[in-house]
Symmetry: C2
């Protein structure tokens, strides 16, 4: 008998009808002779509605209170799903994050899981219950409710899979898996049958929204195979797992993009040690996430320091960097909020410099200007104008299609 952890996202549970469909899907897995722990997100728009309510009673709702408020969304969906299963004749029980043993630190709104005590879950499985766990939430040492922040329910599912030593962790969402490129831009893009953890991380960090990087990291740390699939169809999804047979595999996994990029460049900074830290430390302190960082080679005594942020963070970032221009003796601070990034991702690329050249040539053939380049072991990213991003993704997919196709169907 296999122990399976499943996670259903908010769109899969958007209304009572969809909850009943999910219950039927769970029932099928149970009928196949599996033990089941199911993690749920809040129904559809519940979280947005709760946030709206909070904003109506307080300009800056306290983080502790916000956590209790938001956690009710998952309590509601977990009980409804348990009821729905019971009405189909299955034994089911809902557990809050606290009851499921999810213990976190006290960083409200984005708590980290410290430990998982699965005693209660195991007792309920022993009683042949299908265990429905409210995702996204935990409890701190003071027994206060915490929430895990973005990607929280995915993280709950992977953490429980690790602690329960589950045979499989299945993330059901509204897409059919991980694609080699966004199918809305590249209609024929291949769905990947499998992808490595690091590749998935690079894809996610480069804009593929299928799964939150944090949950992928946790999966990698505990080596949990994660299936990403649609709750609306029976198409087999994508399995995220440790790379196997790396040497014989193809090099490129997919094309990722993110059309929500803004850039800040500090021009003419006197070239001395400590520049990067002088600029980035105040940003980190203000909790501004910086993405790509590039320091151009200096000409003469000055250098240009560039980084990108989410577009929504640009105003805040600029207000922090502006005063530094004078402090650092730089010339000026320039920004551009109309950018995008496009990346090719694949474990196999690391020792094959030909891929970078092919990427740059493809973009150049389309007349697309590359503003910044950043590379990792398994990724090459170009920052380009937002207006060029769809053309870029399609052209890159075409250039690398032969590689991708073999990777998608080994």
């Amino acid at each position: 008998m296999a122990l399976v952890v499943q996670k259903y996202g908010g769109s899969s549970l958007a209304n009572s009808e969809r909850i009943r469909l999910v219950a039927q899907r769970i029932a099928k897995t149970k009928d196949s002779g599996n033990q089941l722990v199911v993690v749920v997100s809040a129904m559809g728009d519940t979280t947005d509605e709760l946030i709206k309510l909070a904003s109506q009673v307080a300009k800056q709702p306290g983080e502790r209170e916000m956590d209790v408020l938001l956690s009710t969304g998952e309590l509601i969906s977990s009980t409804l799903l348990a009821m729905s299963l019971e009405s189909l004749g299955y034994k089911a029980i809902s557990l809050s994050g606290a009851q499921a043993g999810i213990k976190t630190d006290s960083t409200h709104n984005k708590a980290r899981i410290i430990s998982v005590s699965v005693k209660r879950i195991l007792e309920e499985i022993e009683k042949n219950n299908i265990v429905i766990v409210a995702g996204f939430q935990g409890i701190n040492q003071q027994l206060d409710t915490t929430t895990l922040g973005r990607g929280g329910s995915d993280t709950t599912a992977v953490a429980l899979s690790a602690s329960l030593k589950a045979d499989m962790c299945q993330i059901f969402t509204d897409v059919e898996g991980v694609y080699a490129a966004d199918p809305r831009i590249v209609p024929g893009a291949a769905k990947l049958d499998e992808i490595g953890y690091d590749e998935m991380l690079e894809m996610a960090n480069s804009g593929a929204k299928v799964m939150h990087p944090r949950a992928v990291e946790l999966g990698e740390m505990y080596n949990i195979p994660i299936l990403v699939a649609s709750s609306f169809s029976n198409v087999s999804g994508t399995i995220i797992r440790e790379e196997i047979a790396m040497e014989v595999r193809n090099k490129v996994r997919g094309i990722a993009h993110d059309a929500n990029v803004a850039r800040i460049t500090v021009l003419g900074v006197p070239n001395r040690p400590g520049i990067a830290s002088a600029i980035l430390a105040p940003l980190a302190e203000a909790n501004v996430s910086v993405d790509t960082i590039v320091q151009n080679i200096s000409v003469g005594n000055t250098t240009d320091f560039t980084f990108t942020v989410d577009r929504s963070a640009l105003a805040k970032a600029k207000s922090i960097v502006d005063p530094l221009v004078e402090t650092l003796g730089a010339r000026e601070c320039a920004t551009d909020s109309t950018l995008a990034k496009v990346s090719i991702v694949g474990t196999g690329m690391q020792n094959s410099p030909g891929y970078a050249a092919m990427m740059f040539r493809t973009l150049s053939e389309q007349g697309i200007n590359i503003q910044l380049i950043s590379t990792s072991e398994i990724r090459i990213t170009c920052i380009i104008a937002e207006r060029d991003v769809n053309i870029a993704v399609r052209a890159l997919y075409e250039s690398f299609e032969a590689e991708i196709a073999k990777a998608a169907r080994p």
Copy 2:
């Protein structure tokens, strides 16, 4: 510094605007130098909406799951109220029933409080926090959420008052206090400044819906003075407390009525011991609440046995009693679902038989037929036709007005 427990009902918290008004009212109490514990019900229609959701996913939702589902309503209102207070510059913290130390048995949907551990509440008061407690809910020994059933939030407030040895328990609702008769029927009915626990119990059990009898009982048991007042006005409410100076007080407190009465009479029952038990035991087993019970003096060898139930329970009660007619050798089972009860309530009446006579005369003068009479130490109840109830209440109020007026304003 006084320790005050306040409770706000669902209509007082129906939307974000009302929540902000309640926050301002709490702030005022705090500014007067009080320590504050506030118990909240769910916002307006939240509970009904959750019940509807449950009915959409399951025909008979499980009681344990239902409790977790319903408990989210009070979690939501408690956090929103805490946020609203924080935004006014007050320190506030919301606590779930479990965090507030409300420990119950495992009778889901109508759990009884076993004990209250106020350690956490006292810690938060010590930190100068206004403590907002989610009413209506507790936790059982398995650490599962339970709900307290009807009148649950009132019960939470009174139980906390007792455990915290609060100086005052204030129940804020949508009426201005306890009236000597329903002001919708008797427009000039006096609001009582105070009323005894037992009188309030008789009023509540006789149809006055201001406060659930269960919370009043608890108040009496621990001798907690309870103020019932409106959250929408500054009119002083009614204090429920131990009768004082009973001998010098006036006799009648008020007129209560309930227009939702049905009657079952088993006619021609052979008059032998055990009849009442033979009829009532199966009803109790089926969880049918029986209200007034009257066994008429027997004529010859048979007697007539009559009891009343809520109209909604009539069909179920009849289905249980019908088969007993043959078993008991009775003649038939007759029912009437168009009845009401009207009562006069007052601690002082007990040794003054004149009040009963005055009540019967008043009804008779209005041409109202009395079907059943039932009395307690401090209450006289007549069952009459529903169509007569408004006339009866008005006439009785007029007959006893001099008594009531003195009682209302001592």
